[in-house]
């Protein structure tokens, strides 16, 4: 067994580090996209027409653009052209940090549209009477949304949101195209150098993703059952 995985002894192959990077990308992007997606859904159902229009346009544009294009654009458009730098210039890892954060920005911009659409379908599962009762109590739109409708909507869309988050986890591999050192970048490097143990390399990385995806799915599936509104 040990001879099979000899190639892992190469100090350049930081397998755990690569997957840790994948986890970090997923974690920050997930939090960001949940926040931005919630704001977007608020815009899409708001009484202000211009916000509704913006929300709709944003979702349609970003949902239909390949993530590859978005990530390339964060690097070429935001970083090279606009000179946006998201990392402190005097740190030793300034460049890596910048691209890591740009990638997260790209993932948030893209994933938030799916979060928004899931939530919007979740709002539909909330009985009309809930919103009507809230209005009858004299709550304004913002209160109806944040106190009554969204909490219930969130509870009913944990399952679709789980799919969104798993998709996000897999999508973080796209960060490799702007040089963020995560799992797929390491794999493509290893595939180049370790041609004789190609299948092993693939299975190793596949196993890594399976190990990450399965618990996420199971955990959130359990949460979904727990918080489901019994109607």
């Amino acid at each position: 067994m040990s001879t099979l995985f000899d190639f892992l002894d190469n100090p350049n192959y930081d397998l755990l580090g690569a997957f840790w990077m994948t986890i970090k990308l997923t974690f920050f992007s997930a939090i960001g996209s949940l926040i931005w997606g919630t704001i977007l859904v608020g815009m899409r159902v708001s009484p202000v027409p211009i916000m509704r229009a913006f929300g709709t346009a944003y979702v349609n544009i970003f949902r239909n653009t390949p993530l590859t294009v978005i990530i390339v654009f964060t690097s070429l458009g935001l970083s090279s052209t606009l000179g946006i730098n998201l990392a402190s210039k005097d740190s030793t890892t300034s460049l890596e940090d910048n691209f890591f954060r740009l990638a997260i920005l790209g993932f948030i911009a893209y994933t938030a549209t799916f979060v928004c659409e899931s939530l919007r379908s979740g709002i539909n599962t909330v009985p009309v009477g809930q919103a009507e009762a809230a209005r009858a109590l004299g709550l304004g739109f913002f209160q109806v949304l944040t106190l009554i409708v969204l909490p219930q909507a969130f509870r009913s869309v944990i399952a679709p949101l789980t799919n969104v988050m798993i998709a996000l986890l897999k999508n973080t591999t796209v960060a490799s195209i702007i040089g963020v050192a995560e799992a797929s970048l390491l794999m493509s490097e290893m595939v180049e150098n370790e041609s004789d143990s190609l299948l092993l390399v693939f299975l190793l990385f596949a196993a890594g993703f399976v190990i990450l995806v399965l618990p996420l799915g199971l955990l959130l599936g359990w949460v979904a059952k727990k918080v489901e509104v019994k109607r």
Binding site: S176, L198, A206
Partner: protein
């Protein structure tokens, strides 16, 4: 509009004024962002006519963009054509009465759904390079299609399974009452109905496939799809940003058309009287309370 008014009352004079204020503030913020981006690009001369001029030039399209687009469509088309039968087989396999078929098929489907398409493509590219004699010209296309088929075949397996399970039980019962075997029931009774129910979901899957083809130009895969295919163009004119914008617009238009087509299909199928009673479309819409429906499928990649 009347359905919209569930979350808020019809605005009175005060609310109208407040909404106006919000509108103005929002437009201001938006304008600031747009202005910042515009001037930023302007400083680098990204709006200069010289960079955009190639796009009015026919040769740009015939030499760079259209071949790239053609490759993208080729990969997407091949993938869906190959993934459909595989998805059907896997989906039916998961519904098998025999545990020794159901279990391994279930593992295969779950395995390929858990792995990023990019990894599948990188692996396929290397595999074809090391172990097969496929011509290096066509190898990237093979790698791209392989990655897409493995992933989308598994996704479609789930779509097929959901489609078959959503049919009323009476269909299968009636066909066994007629003395049809399990295979006959599946092929003659269940599948034809399930496919009709699934059509919108399958068209939506096309959007996912189309977006995923954009991965095939990256890393070590090297398929000349729309993004990578426009590389020489940016090298020629130094117009990376304008090209990216044009490429994005092409993708957005294509995908919006596909999405439109999917919802048109869904409406058409919903109106069709032939659909069996009690059958639910695979991506059934929830009650329309707040909005006009569109596919809020969270699972798309």
């Amino acid at each position: 509009m009347s359905t919209q008014a569930v979350l808020y009352d019809a605005p009175g004079p005060k609310a109208k004024a407040r909404n106006w204020l919000y509108s103005v503030l929002f437009v201001l913020v938006l304008a600031l962002v747009v202005y910042y981006v515009y001037t930023g690009f302007d400083e680098k001369g990204q709006w200069a006519g010289a960079l955009w001029k190639p796009f009015i030039d026919g040769s740009t399209w015939t030499q760079f963009l259209l071949p790239g687009l053609l490759n993208t469509l080729k990969a997407a088309g091949l993938s869906i054509v190959i993934a459909l039968p595989i998805g059907a087989l896997l989906g039916i396999g998961r519904l098998s009465d025999h545990k020794w078929i159901r279990m391994p098929v279930g593992w295969i489907v779950e395995f390929f759904r858990a792995i990023p398409v990019l990894l599948l493509m990188v692996f396929a590219a290397a595999f074809y390079a090391y172990y097969t004699g496929i011509d290096s010209e066509i190898r990237p296309l093979f790698a791209a299609v392989t990655g897409l088929v493995l992933y989308n075949g598994s996704v479609m397996a789930e779509v097929f399974r959901a489609g078959i399970l959503s049919l009323p039980r009476g269909q299968a019962e009636a066909s066994s009452a007629l003395g049809l075997r399990k295979t006959q029931t599946m092929v003659n009774i269940l599948l034809p109905q399930a496919v009709t129910l699934m059509l919108p979901a399958l068209v939506s899957q096309l959007v996912v496939i189309l977006k995923d083809t954009a991965l095939a130009g990256q890393l070590t895969i090297g398929f000349d799809e729309l993004i990578r295919g426009s590389g020489p163009l940016t090298g020629l004119y130094g117009n990376t940003i304008p090209t990216l914008i044009v490429v994005a617009i092409i993708f957005i238009v294509l995908n919006l058309l596909l999405t439109q087509f999917a919802s048109w299909l869904e409406n058409k199928l919903a109106r069709r009287k032939k659909a069996p009673k009690g059958a639910k479309p695979v991506m059934a819409a929830t009650a329309n309370v707040v909005l006009t429906r569109d596919d809020a499928s969270g699972g798309a990649v």
